[in-house]
């Protein structure tokens, strides 16, 4: 007589998931002074804003999970968002077997285990996707916040460079700045 039996297999796994997103672009630095002088001005301005100089000459600032890296020489900017999470996932499956037909208990258990592994992989993929979305969202948000600051940096560097250039040309008689319109007027006596 055929007798049915049911087996339940439960698996759990812990994985350390990482996700990241990064954009690279270049700053629009006008060549008012020689490149090395412009790089120095940029470096000074970035230091004032909490950037730290690295061994390779780049300026880096960490804002939580986000890292902003600027190369003052080339004007290359990279903004990187990285996130990491330890995720635990569980999966459970049941299967019914018969003592006289079909696979034996050992084979059935292995088959269910394989299916459970696939279930877990799927769950981890979903978690990975969620984590990736989180990193990208953080990057997008940070870019919006960073844009005005970077514009200010570029404008400040341009202003400083113009002042230095004016001093090189002759005697600076008057400097007037309008923060609202962003205009800078320098009167130079040559």
């Amino acid at each position: 007589m055929s007798r049915a039996y049911r087996i339940t297999v439960k698996e759990s796994e812990t994985r350390n998931l990482k996700a990241g997103d990064e954009i690279c672009t270049e700053l629009e630095i006008l060549e008012i002074l020689p490149p090395e002088d412009m790089a120095t001005l940029l470096k000074e301005e970035l230091k004032k804003r909490g950037f730290e100089e690295q061994d390779d000459g780049t300026m880096v600032r960490k804002d939580g999970e986000l890292t902003v890296k600027i190369d003052p020489c080339s004007g290359e900017v990279s903004v990187k968002a990285e996130t990491e999470e330890t995720v635990n996932q569980e999966a459970k499956r049941e299967a019914t077997g018969f003592n006289d037909v079909g696979p034996n208990e050992k084979n059935l258990r292995e088959k269910v285990k394989d299916q459970l592994k696939q279930d877990l992989d799927k769950k981890f993929d979903q978690e990975q996707s969620r984590l990736q979305g989180k990193a990208t969202e953080a990057l997008e948000k940070h870019l919006q916040d960073l844009q005005p600051e970077i514009s200010e940096v570029v404008n400040q560097v341009t202003r400083d460079a113009l002042k230095q250039k004016a001093q090189q040309i002759g005697t600076v008689k008057e400097i007037s700045e309008d923060a609202e319109s962003g205009s800078l007027t320098i009167k130079v006596e040559v």
Partner: protein, 392 residues
Amino acid sequence: MTRTVPPPTQPPEPDGPRQVSKFEYNLLRILKFLVGHFPADQGLQLVRTATTKPECISVGAVDLVKDVLSKALVLFLTRAGGWRNDKYLRNNTPASGRVWGRIPLDERTLEFSRPVLDFLFWLTAEKVHETKQAWDAAPKALTPTDELFFALAFDAMRSDPDVLAMLRRKDTFSRNPFCWLTAPQDVADPEATKPQAPDFTPMFGGLRAVLLECLQTHLTHRWIRSERDKGQLGDWKRMRHQGNAEFVALRDFLKAAEAARRADLARFVLRTNAAVLQSDLTPVFWTGGLQGSGPQRLADRLETQRAALAFPRQMETLEVWQERARYVGYFDDDYQASQMWKADWEAVNGDRVAARARAAVEMLEPLRGPIAGQPATGTGTPGGENPEGSSG
């Protein structure tokens, strides 16, 4: 000065149409399809059909193949732009006239080699999309005319995805610079993250340069159409692949043109940009057709959007050429060549075209903020929605 020679004397034609076998008949029809003288649907059908290959083909069929090849390519090149009374550099000096007026006959003689006939045999005898015979020809063994013929053949057959996948695997096409100039998105391996274009250096000397002169108008029209069609492309992955392939092909081509001091052979890049950028365009002109929000990573979305603007990005290189040409003096070696380039540049209002191209490219760049006192025009997050108000 025009050099003409009497046509070689042909043996008398037999009375009535020549008799050919079924294989020869199909081969001739395929050949005519490849050079654009036979309907594409019927031609592709023949390419997908196998015909039993004979030991050899008749003398009459060989004559007909020769006849079609010689006439069709000359006709193609003449129509493509060879007929135009144009000006190109010869020994770094501008030479004007139609191609047969500018170039001596012995420098513009088209020569076909054995691989062309082998290819026609293979196409006729095999079902190309499920071929058992691994036909290919070493790129170095091909003459410039062969390369042009294979580029035409590739163009004729690339609309069939199965056939395209098969052809793309062959060096004859994947290392053919003419294929890369006419359809880089199709000839580049879609699985490769970084497409590798062939060496374009040989394109700027000898017969290949003459062929390029003839192809300038043809290439301009093709690229204009391709740029306008990009706005209809919905698949992000395909856009990225196409853009990357185009960028690599054009970048390497311009680099080789610069090294060979043949800026005149890159006219199609300038003229295409001028035709596309007739008004201020936003990146939506190129990316407006992309469906959905695209890849999850912002980096991938930005990469795709940058790739879409592969063609306007080339204006940066042309601007450098123009800047250099401005400083060439009357007594410098390149004076006449630079004058010709400046004339080309001014004819299309190059400064304005370059400014428009730069503006479109920069709109995609993140962290490009507004100047103080001016209202912001973008969000600074290129991965977001495309800006509105585009003519695309």
